[in-house]
């Protein structure tokens, strides 16, 4: 997502853009849109159906990866303070985006309740905190302590970036960074640390745990100046690949028996199907962490950065989406509101197809427009700067 800021990352041809990261982030953003619409049929085709991890994990890992590339580069050129200031500026953008989405979501709930004449439900559910305590709800939303359904990824991302700004220089000492990060992860899980929410309990995504995945991405993404490779090499080993495949197969077997076909799962021993009840997403259970890392390992080695299909026209849409992470993410959340309302009105096959087609087309359009605008603006800014700055 940071890579999409463009300026720092796409520096003067120092390092070719890793199209794989863009492509898979594009896919993850698309999946996030799909999974944010309950009962969307395409939701049966996303990552969460086949692996014990989903688009959220992919998104956070790749966000870390892009942050490592972009802000790592700024750190090396301009120093900690400047790079941290840039991260904080990005956090400000995310915060504003989150609040705007929050306001829209609140309006959606109100509209939806009126349109469906849902008094019978809304009364039972008191879904709208605004009906109860509007001022309090607003305050708690601003404090990120009130995160309505589907609005829990941006708060996580904000916290992850703030943590990252603090430890930025440690990207040069990846082992120390990972050790600290692992320590915080372990402490969060073992001591059950959490950030409180208004409703009681913790955040939907616990930043203390999820930061580990982000930092892994950072370390994988960072390149010291002049170095061809990152400080941490993860070379291909056949046995490691086999382990990853076995792990993912195990995860799929668990999902299949406990979730897809619990009727068949009755034949399996309970200790086996019971494993899944322990696998939480909130604090990124190690099972999920290992699953996304295994998937990444396999994909990163199966798809070389030079793969021809990444430059094929069919891949373009997802590349564009991945490169314009923030606008695409935010508009994806927004489009999913519209999609949910559309399915609320009618959830038959035509509407399902229309929502998904319109959703994907809109995401691609946002990506294209945003990329086009940034290129244009960059060109415009650099043109008048040239003549006076350079004699002949």
């Amino acid at each position: 997502m940071e890579g999409s800021v463009g300026a720092p990352a796409a520096g003067e041809g120092r390092r070719p853009r890793d199209l794989r990261a863009d492509f898979f982030r594009g896919i993850a953003l698309w999946f996030i849109f799909i999974d944010h619409i309950p009962d969307n049929w395409l939701g049966h085709a996303t990552l969460r159906n086949v692996a014990l991890c989903d688009a959220t994990e992919a998104f956070v890992l790749l966000a870390g990866y892009a942050a490592g590339i972009a802000y790592g580069g700024v750190l090396d050129r301009e120093g900690w303070l400047f790079a941290a200031a840039q991260v904080v500026r990005r956090v400000g953008t995310l915060y504003v985006a989150h609040i705007v989405l929050f306001v829209m979501f609140t309006a959606q709930v109100g509209y939806s309740a009126a349109a469906m004449d849902a008094s019978i439900y809304i009364d039972e559910l008191h879904l709208d905190a605004f009906g109860d305590q509007p001022y309090r709800a607003l305050l708690e939303a601003l404090l990120l302590r009130f995160q309505p359904a589907f609005l829990n990824i941006l708060p996580l991302y904000i916290l992850l970036l703030l943590q990252f700004a603090l430890v930025l220089p440690l990207v040069r000492r990846p082992r120390l960074l990972l050790a600290l990060s692992l320590g915080l992860y372990a402490a969060t899980r073992l001591l059950e640390l959490e950030l409180p929410t208004w409703a009681g309990g913790g955040w939907f995504f616990n930043p203390g745990a999820w930061q580990l995945l982000f930092m892994v991405g950072v370390v994988l993404g960072y390149r010291p100046p002049g170095a061809a490779a990152g400080p941490l090499r993860v070379p291909w080993r056949r046995w490691a690949g086999a382990l990853c495949v076995a792990w993912l197969a195990l995860g799929f077997a668990l999902l299949f028996l406990a979730w897809h076909r619990p009727d068949l799962g009755q034949a399996a021993p309970l200790w086996f199907t019971g494993v899944l009840t322990e696998v939480d997403k909130t604090a990124l259970h190690p099972f999920r962490l290992v699953s996304i890392l295994a998937l990444t390992y396999l994909l990163a080695h199966a798809v070389p950065a030079s793969a021809a299909w990444l430059r094929h026209r069919a891949a373009w849409a997802f590349l564009a989406m991945g490169q314009q992470g923030l606008p695409v993410f935010c508009s994806g959340i927004l489009f999913s509101f519209v999609g949910r309302l559309a399915l609320e009105y009618n959830d038959r096959v035509i509407m399902q197809a229309a929502v998904n087609a319109a959703g994907l087309a809109s995401l691609v359009a946002v990506a294209w427009l945003s990329g086009w605008y940034k290129r244009k603006e960059r060109a415009r800014r650099s043109v008048p700067a040239l003549p006076p700055g350079r004699p002949a």
Binding site: Y121, L276, M351
Partner: protein, 282 residues
Amino acid sequence: MRWWSPRVAIRSRGRPPGAARPPAWGRRAFLAAALALAAAPAPFAPAPFAPAWAAAPTSCEAPPELLDNAAPLPATERALAEGALRVLVVGSASVLGPGSSTPAHAWPARLEASLHESRPALRLEVKVRGGRGLTAADMLPLIEGATSPPPHLVIWQVGTVEAARGLEPDWLAGRLATGLEGLKERGIDAVLMDQQFSRFLRANADINAYQDTIRIAAAGQGAAVFPRYELMRHWADTDRIDLERAPRAGRAAMVDLLGDCLGGAIAAFVLRGASLAAGPRP
């Protein structure tokens, strides 16, 4: 702190009856925005079920594959064989039958009636414990406190309040595991029941996450999930029972019909679970 606590929950909601209906233009604009596709009649019927009763649109027969997921209910089976069955129904508001004409039309009462009908000689006792806005944690003591004599079967309706309030699904998973484990230790059968189908709830809450949690919790303890959500969606899709689309005047009758249909379906589900425990597994 807990903004949903019962104290706070008893309140007057903003809209007085009849006031501030949604402006018609808003709805129309939305419909237009909804890609103008709504106007096209969707030729889709979810699944071709037995045509015999598909012809009768008021029927609330359940598609067989939805009720196939019954798990064996050994304690219920023994109780049926002995001629006396005690059932405890625990849940949030829907167990009390809000919106129906009398409490006797709520699904737990209809379950009792339906079981009576199929097993007239059975001495049957159905207790209902629950209330509006109860979370799984609030229900645990109701389940654990059911002693002297303990029930043979607990039907635990759960997951709606958690989804509506956006509580962590993992929090729900923990409570479900505790409850189901306790029941298993006491030799009591358990059937979980998921949310009602509601387009409104679906549009405004991350409902699939909580359904997954219920499903996985049940699979982890060998319990069954009664697929209320899928059933109600089927009834809505086939224009049989659709609370959200029912005209105001006919709503109470439709809520009654829903209670009747659900009660009958659960009774069938329970009897099937008992027969699974009796005979050799198919």
